[in-house]
């Protein structure tokens, strides 16, 4: 069972210094929001605004910033599942090895099989990533993130190169896995329709230096999310009532 985990993200200042010039590039400025326990939050913003940088700081890959990222349960280091923008599989390890390498306990191997089965990739368990299509590799990287039983799941545009039926299927699977074993999800996308379908809350981000434009809770019930007309209505409503959001898109 996942532990209770509220996260407060409060980044005062994050800058990049390119090697060629000494000029500092401010990526994030005064960004503050919370990710409540077991909440599904979508980050929506123009591409290149620093969403990946934000996820990297939350994942602890980049500690060079001013501010803090506070995890409520400080006693344990949280399990973080990260679905990167590119799959980042080890090409010299088989699919099964790639997934099993992130596991801390050997008992979870059964779960790996279940996940592979659910993604219809079981027959490929012993092949190497280079023999797979990008879409398949992407699904493997999603399985890998689920396999660690994450407290927080970070997803960086995970469905980008999947075709529509595949994306729909994986999206469905993501939701059912999330409902089976609730955890917090931070999901980066620039597709507003996808964000409305998935999230409890949308966080709109401005372009660089990144800050929050608005936070919007989605009132649509989970069982109605399949209804595309409802999603489209909400999207239209968002765009016409929020000029600042319209400006972003």
């Amino acid at each position: 069972m996942a532990t209770m985990m509220d996260i407060l993200i409060d980044i005062k200042h994050k800058a990049y210094q390119t090697q060629s010039s000494s000029r500092k590039n401010i990526v994030i400025k005064d960004l503050k929001f919370s990710l409540n326990n077991q909440e599904f939050v979508c980050l929506v913003g123009p591409s290149g605004c620093g969403k990946t940088t934000l996820l990297n700081t939350i994942a602890g890959l980049d500690s060079n910033f001013q501010g803090k990222i506070a995890l409520e349960n400080k006693n344990t280091t949280p399990n973080i599942g990260y679905v990167f923008q590119n799959p980042r599989l080890l090409p010299w390890r088989t699919i099964r090895e790639n997934i099993e390498l992130v596991l801390t306990s050997p008992q979870s191997t059964d779960m790996v099989d279940t996940l592979l089965e659910a993604m219809q990739l079981k027959h490929l368990a012993d092949s190497y990533p280079e023999h797979l299509s990008l879409g398949m590799s992407r699904r493997i990287s999603i399985i890998r993130a689920f396999a660690v039983n994450p407290d927080i799941l970070l997803m960086d545009e995970p469905f980008v190169s999947l075709d529509a039926p595949n994306a729909r299927q994986v999206r469905k699977l993501l939701l059912s896995l999330w409902q089976q074993r609730p955890h917090s999800i931070l999901f980066v996308t620039h597709d507003l329709r996808e964000a409305i379908t998935l999230a409890d809350k949308l966080v709109f981000l401005s372009k660089s230096p990144m800050k929050i434009v608005s936070e919007i809770n989605i009132p649509i019930a989970r069982e109605d999310r399949e209804n595309e007309a409802l999603i489209e209505d909400f999207r239209q409503h968002l765009i016409s009532n929020h000029p600042d959001i319209k400006a972003l898109l």
């Binding site: 990297n56 973080i80 990260y82 590119n86 990533p129 890998r144």
Partner: protein
């Protein structure tokens, strides 16, 4: 029909036969003591093997090769990886590396013998010092090209040092290790003969020196043949299988 025989194996075999034939032809034509035919060389080789001379000296040299190669690879790989990971240290030690890369092998050998005496350890040391800079340069290059994305992935999923090294770093360095192994064996082999010639009383280098003084070309060639065969065996029985094993994940 004819092209069926032109596969890579056949081509290699044909070219080898052609080489032996032209050697034989040239030797017969010149009929000189200084260029014995392959038949004579083979006869000498057989005698040397039966008498136990050649296996003894070749064995000694191979032992020196294995010891100095292992030491040089171990130290060179460690320093190379370290320099590839730490830029400041790299800037600091780069000049040293350039100096050691450019000291002639013969100078290192002479200095080692002068400073440490005509001993076994001085001989090994001379070979090791000659080889280490090359290993460092290759491994440093390999470490610089490590994939940052995969390292981040390993960090994010709490791989730890051991797991990261064996599953993320080592497979990426492997081609560089193989490259430096091949170039290393070739380089060490050449240097080790000079080391033996100058300051040892056994080994291939010592034997070759004796035969040089006797102008016994047949024996020199017999030792050369034995050497080439050994290197080919190392390539076929050790290095090739390693290569094959490492390439199975590639498309």
């Amino acid at each position: 029909m004819f092209s069926k025989f032109l596969t890579s194996q056949y081509l290699g075999f044909i070219s080898l036969i052609l080489f032996l034939l032209s050697w034989y032809g040239l030797a017969t034509l010149l009929n000189q003591h200084t260029l014995p035919s392959p038949v004579i060389v083979l006869k000498v080789l057989k005698q040397e093997i039966i008498s136990g001379e050649l296996p003894y000296h070749l064995g000694i040299t191979l032992l020196r090769l294995i010891i100095s190669f292992s030491i040089a690879m171990l130290i060179g790989c460690s320093i190379g990886i370290l320099l590839g990971r730490h830029q400041k240290l790299d800037y600091f030690l780069d000049q040293w590396l350039v100096i050691f890369l450019n000291v002639p092998a013969l100078v290192t050998i002479i200095l080692c013998y002068v400073w440490f005496g005509l001993s076994e350890s001085a001989a090994i040391l001379a070979v090791v010092i000659n080889k280490i800079p090359n290993v460092i340069v290759t491994m440093r290059e390999g470490t610089r090209t490590l994939n940052q994305d995969l390292l981040e992935m390993a960090h994010c999923y709490h791989f730890g040092k051991r797991k990261t090294f064996f599953h993320v770093i080592w497979p990426q360095l492997y081609p560089f290790v193989m490259a430096t192994t091949r170039s290393g064996l070739a380089l060490i082999w050449k240097i080790i003969l000079v080391v033996e010639l100058l300051g040892r009383s056994n080994g291939m280098g010592y034997q070759l020196n004796i035969y040089f003084q006797l102008f016994d070309v047949a024996s020199i060639l017999a030792y050369t043949v034995a050497f080439i065969v050994i290197i080919q065996l190392i390539e076929m029985l050790i290095l090739k299988p390693f290569d094959k094993n490492a390439k199975k994940w590639r498309r």
